[in-house]
């Protein structure tokens, strides 16, 4: 195991939890609950924790369904890290570049959806983007990871509904 030491006065990332889940519909609720447990001590204010939980559930649903095609034997990997005042949740599936999260999804338009011009679905990524402070997507071969970042020192500006 290779380890490097740096002299920089940056906080050392701390892994709070890492686990896998079978790709079965509904298991996003397990991810949500376990991520919440892992954050019990970090002082994320209640409304921000709820936002992060919603984003984790949506990202895990996408990983289960779109990334791993509901194939239970392919695990969804979840890792929770604290880096200074950042909480980072990484959710990885095996959907590679074909993953719908990788493309430019059409922005949900409520009026179009009501008039049938757009499918009623397609809220997942929209919710995720609007719930967390930052969302990034990376791919490495088949590994497709969505990174959700939330700052513990959240400010009041995003506490409105």
């Amino acid at each position: 195991m290779e380890q490097t030491m740096t002299q920089v006065a940056r906080p050392i990332p701390r892994r709070l939890d890492a686990f896998t889940l079978p790709s079965e519909p509904g298991n996003e609720r397990l991810a949500l609950a376990r991520v919440a447990d892992s954050l019990a001590e970090v002082g994320l204010p209640g409304p921000r924790l709820e936002r992060l939980k919603t984003a984790v559930a949506e990202a895990t649903m996408n990983a289960i369904e779109h990334g791993n095609g509901n194939r239970a034997e392919i695990p969804v990997e979840v890792e929770v890290t604290q880096n200074g005042d950042e909480i980072i949740v990484a959710i990885t599936d095996q959907g590679g570049q074909e993953h719908p999260d990788s493309g430019a999804a059409e922005e949900p338009d409520l009026l179009k959806k009501l008039d049938g011009g757009q499918s009623p679905r397609g809220w997942g990524l929209f919710l995720i983007r609007n719930m967390v402070d930052a969302m990034d997507v990376t791919t490495d071969g088949q590994r497709h990871t969505i990174w959700l970042t939330m700052h513990t020192g959240g400010v009041a500006h995003d506490e409105h509904v």
Binding site: E58, L110, L114, D115, G116, G122
Partner: protein, 107 residues
């Protein structure tokens, strides 16, 4: 940990109220559709001849979980209402309480 979505309907003057409780996710599809149909039917029975078409109020106060699939189901019900009920207000509005929804819709 999980609780099925329940939807009960009641009719007020000028409005049909659908009270939702439990979890609004993919499993709520049948409950939502049936509640909408029941609310419209009850409302039409109670509506005086020549009376105005009413407002449909969805009450989420007792909902403890909703996800993107649940939102899609709600949007489907709203799209159905919009297609079927020509006198529905163009706008769909969100209110903090049932009382403000009813008074807002009455404006």
């Amino acid at each position: 940990m999980t609780s099925m979505c329940k939807a009960t309907t009641r009719v007020l003057p000028g409005a049909a109220v659908i009270e939702l409780s439990g979890e609004v996710d993919g499993s709520a599809a049948t409950a939502l559709t049936e509640a909408y149909q029941a609310a419209i039917a009850e409302y039409e029975r109670a509506r005086p001849a020549g009376g105005e078409p009413g407002t449909v109020v969805l009450d989420f106060a007792a909902v403890d979980y909703i996800n993107s699939t649940g939102i899609a189901l709600i949007v489907s019900v709203l799209a159905l209402a919009r297609a079927e009920r020509t006198r529905l207000d163009e706008a769909i509005a969100i209110y903090d309480s049932e009382e403000s929804a009813l008074s807002g819709a009455g404006k």
